[in-house]
């Protein structure tokens, strides 16, 4: 993908996330486009690029979020790094596999946000937050990730590139 296209996508991300996506929110939960962008960046462009994307997108999100500044930077950077780690084990991605990985990543990201939030502000219960935020968000992200994969990534025929490491050779 062209670098400028990527920059435009990143700049459009926050306005879209804060305005249009509210129209499709279910019980005040909407898909996290930032997490999806970071996942696809990490998976297709490598863990270091994922980490950098997470850092940049997280900073933008933190500017517009009611949470403590730095929370999204930290959690999305970790998500970008984690997205790049399993990429070398998969030569061909399917929508189902993508959805499964996004569900796991989203759930892990939610738990991480919980711990960061608890450390910074405190006062929330994991069971409640898992029931009302982490799980619905992971499910919604999974569905949205599947749609993005089907509509965009697979059609544009985006191939994996590993600038930071070589793929595993088959035995």
């Amino acid at each position: 993908m062209n670098r400028w296209t990527y920059v435009i996508i990143v700049l459009l991300l926050v306005p879209v996330q804060t305005t249009w996506l509210n129209g499709i929110s279910l019980h005040a939960v909407k898909p996290d486009l930032a997490l999806l962008l970071v996942y696809f960046t990490g998976f297709y462009a490598g863990k270091m690029n994922g980490l950098l994307a997470g850092w940049g997108v997280g900073a933008l999100m933190d500017l517009f979020s009611g949470g403590p500044f730095g929370l999204k930077i930290a959690t999305l950077a970790v998500a970008g790094l984690l997205s790049g780690l399993p990429a070398r084990f998969f030569l061909d991605m399917t929508a189902t596999l993508t959805m499964g990985m996004i569900f796991l990543l989203s759930a892990l990201n939610g738990i991480l946000v919980f711990f960061f939030h608890q450390w910074a502000l405190g006062g929330i219960e994991l069971t409640e937050v898992f029931r009302w935020t982490i799980l619905p968000e992971a499910l919604y992200n999974m569905v949205a990730g599947g749609i993005v994969f089907r509509a965009g990534v697979s059609r544009l025929n985006i191939k994996k590139s590993w600038p930071d490491e070589a793929p595993l050779r088959p035995l």
Binding site: T19, D32, F64, S65, G66, G67
Partner: protein, 269 residues
């Protein structure tokens, strides 16, 4: 040669004679002409029918083309009028909402600043709104935000041209409240499921389901008496020193478009 000329002359004279004598015209010529006329007229009819049919088809086609053009024009007119109707309905609704805000602003004993909601929190973890008024308009951190229906939240960030408002349904929000009927005091907090609850109600509090919670005016953000919500089930867990109750806010936070910021509690503009 002369013989032939004579025959031709004879035939011409005979023909002229036959044509000139009306009596002769009635029978033999007519009798001979009838089948010819029948055949020719049949052909005539056929040609007329074909010509008529073709003409009608052509006319129909021409008409259809014009009908199609007219239909397209009418469809465009319809779409334009539908859009116009929606725009007018939208304007009427906006007028109604703004009129309510204006009425409240005129009658309120405190200073209010109208603002439009331009966005919501990008994450699912916090419940905030972004409004189009900032520090240059006089908005500052901790100012209260409301609608004619009741309390919305308070300002947590005031940039130059925009501000961020923490909703009362956010888990990090607290607003000092008062039960209208019993005058018991408590604190309204947000919950994980996007609702609110009122905590720290005295054990002797007589608050019950259906009671109205208002701002108590003890914190600086809001004047006293602004509606917050209606109480649900009142509970007390085990050895807790206080009661708490579920609270359904009066404001529908998913549909807020305009809000009022309480810029001053003393009514000075």
């Amino acid at each position: 040669m002369n013989y032939r000329r004579f025959i031709v002359l004879f035939l011409v004279v005979l023909l002229v004679t036959m044509l000139l004598f009306p009596e002769l015209q009635k029978r033999p010529i007519h009798f001979l002409g009838r089948p010819v006329v029948f055949v020719i007229s049949g052909l005539q009819k056929g040609l007329t029918w074909i010509g008529g049919g073709f003409g009608n088809t052509w006319k129909g086609y021409i008409n259809l083309v014009s009908v199609r053009h007219e239909n397209e024009r009418l469809k465009q007119d319809l779409a334009r009028l539908q859009n116009e109707t929606i725009r007018l309905q939208e304007a009427a609704q906006a007028h109604e909402r703004l009129q309510e805000l204006l009425d409240l602003k005129k009658t309120a004993a405190y200073s209010l600043l109208a603002a439009t909601v331009i966005g919501r929190d990008p994450s699912n973890w916090y419940r905030t709104l972004m409004i189009n008024k900032g520090s240059r308009d006089g908005v500052a951190v901790d100012m209260g935000v409301m609608t004619p229906a009741g309390v919305v939240g308070r300002v947590i960030k005031a940039e130059t041209a925009v501000s961020q408002v923490l909703l009362i349904t956010d888990r990090n929000s607290t607003v000092a409240a008062l039960i209208q009927r019993t005058r018991d005091e408590g604190l309204v907090e947000g919950t994980e499921n996007g609702l609110a609850r009122i905590k720290y109600l005295s054990l002797r509090a007589d608050a019950a389901e259906g009671d109205l919670a208002l701002t108590s005016g003890l914190t600086g953000s809001f004047p006293k008496g602004i509606p917050i919500g209606t109480l649900g089930r009142v509970t007390k867990k085990g050895l807790d020193l206080f009661k708490q109750a579920e609270l359904t806010p009066h404001v529908d936070f998913s549909k807020i478009e305009e809000v009022l910021v309480v810029t001053s509690l003393d009514g000075q503009k």
